[in-house]
């Protein structure tokens, strides 16, 4: 049984896929490069031709997951006309993507806990900061357009809103089914939060 020779890029992708499955099943610490190599049906030395070590591999996995979900969410958000509709859409898109890619997003979240010196390593923190920037910007834009109340502190409200977005990843990482079977209830909570800052539509006399 001759093993198929894959191009370098294809081989790399197949290793990443294998790592995704392995991490999702065994957790970060229990999943070794030997496990990943076995899952990808290659030897460890071949794995090391593509990735320096487990951390390098997992970093690639995380970066590609973040890139994919960011692109997906952005594509959906730009279709919406107003910033508040955009925030609703962002929440729904994150939810949908996670439901469709549960093991990928689990592998993503599992790779986060590798802590750096002070706290988490830089890339998850940067992702959170970029998300906060984007949400704050949309909230401020809604205020400028008169769709959101002036009294709202946009950066503070943004963190509160982000808590609701992030728990989707956390629930998935915890292996829970709770929010995933109740999309309506989840989106209702999102809409309720947005409603607390919306300027009510003027009733035309």
């Amino acid at each position: 049984m001759g093993k198929k020779r894959l191009s370098a890029e294809k081989r790399r992708q197949s290793i990443l896929k294998a790592a995704e499955r392995c991490l999702a099943r065994k957790g970060y610490y229990n999943c070794t490069t030997a496990d990943i190599a076995a899952e990808a049906d290659i030897t460890e030395p071949v794995l090391y031709q593509h990735f320096r070590d487990k951390r390098d591999l997992v970093d690639s996995l995380r970066n590609s997951a973040v890139e994919d979900i960011t692109n997906y969410v952005t594509r959906r958000v730009v279709k919406r006309k107003t910033p508040l509709e955009g925030l609703h859409e962002a929440a729904e898109a994150i939810f949908d993507y996670t439901v469709r890619h549960r093991s990928k997003m689990r592998a993503y979240y599992y790779s986060i806990p590798e802590l750096g010196k002070g706290g988490l390593r830089r890339s998850p923190v940067e992702r959170l900061h970029r998300l906060h920037e984007a949400v704050s910007f949309m909230l401020e834009e809604a205020q400028r357009q008169g769709a959101a109340v002036k009294e709202m502190n946009a950066p503070d409200f943004a963190w509160s809103f982000i808590a609701l977005l992030e728990i989707v990843y956390i629930a998935n990482a915890l292996g829970l089914n709770v929010p995933f079977k109740q999309k309506d209830m989840y989106m209702d909570l999102i809409d309720r939060m947005l409603k607390t800052i919306s300027v009510p539509d003027k009733v035309e006399g």
């Binding site: 999702a24 099943r25 065994k26 957790g27 970060y28 610490y29 229990n30 689990r106 979240y109 599992y110 790779s111 986060i112 806990p113 590798e114 802590l115 002070g118 706290g119 988490l120 998850p124 923190v125 959170l128 906060h132 950066p155 503070d156 409200f157 963190w159 509160s160 809103f161 808590a163 609701l164 992030e166 728990i167 956390i170 629930a171 990482a173 915890l174 292996g175 829970l176 709770v178 929010p179 109740q182 209830m185 989840y186 909570l189 309720r192 939060m193 409603k195 607390t196 800052i197």
Partner: protein
């Protein structure tokens, strides 16, 4: 000096305490059993007498940390019955404890990395379930008293609140510029818009 005269229970606890510090500082991967032995002032062999593997020691540490976080939750509760005040107090208790014990928060973030494994499900899920039930009880009262929208599904929302507990720990592990300088007040700021959104629709 506890040392070699320590009772069996004390010695075990002493190892767990040292392991919390070590895992909190260096993660599961980074902290060796030697580090832990040195911190506890005992030999590696003594550790293996209580915990046959590093992994089992980690599980014991995890159970200890989750237990400590949970027992702290209800530590200082206001006499009020209002759901918003109670939920706010829970979050503040939770965040204060995390800020005072950052090594424990880091261990929780560490454990999320294997939370979908069978081992975690078997040992931790019941504990989370109980927390959700406690919050659900508070919500029922809130609904009866008219501070919460009766249209809400308390079982669902209480799980969301348990997940927000995790988010706070995660955010804290990020050593978020926004969160750390505010101290426990950050919990209130984070919860306020969410709690406001649960009020009955006018």
């Amino acid at each position: 000096m506890a040392g070699k005269y320590g009772t069996r229970g004390n010695r075990r606890q002493q190892i767990i305490d040292a392991a919390i510090k070590a895992f909190g500082a260096k993660n599961y991967d980074g902290a060796s059993v030697t580090d832990i032995a040195n911190a506890a002032g005992i030999t590696k062999r003594a550790i293996y007498r209580y915990f046959p593997t590093k992994r089992e020691l980690f599980y014991a540490v995890r159970n200890e940390v989750y237990g400590a976080i949970v027992s702290n939750l209800w530590s200082e509760m206001p006499a009020a019955k209002d759901f918003n005040e109670l939920a706010d107090a829970l979050m503040r208790n939770h965040l204060r404890f995390g800020l005072e014990n950052p090594e424990m928060s880091r261990i929780v973030v560490n454990t999320i990395s294997e939370a979908a494994t069978k081992e975690f499900q078997e040992n931790i899920e019941a504990l989370l379930d109980e927390r959700a039930e406690e919050v659900e009880g508070l919500m029922q009262t809130g609904i009866e008293e008219g501070t919460l929208d009766p249209d809400l599904n308390p079982a669902f929302v209480s799980w969301i609140i348990v997940l927000i507990f995790f988010f706070l720990i995660y955010m804290q592990a990020c050593e978020e510029d926004w969160l750390i300088p505010r101290g426990e007040e950050a919990a209130s700021v984070l919860m306020r818009p969410f709690l406001a959104s649960l009020a009955p629709r006018s």
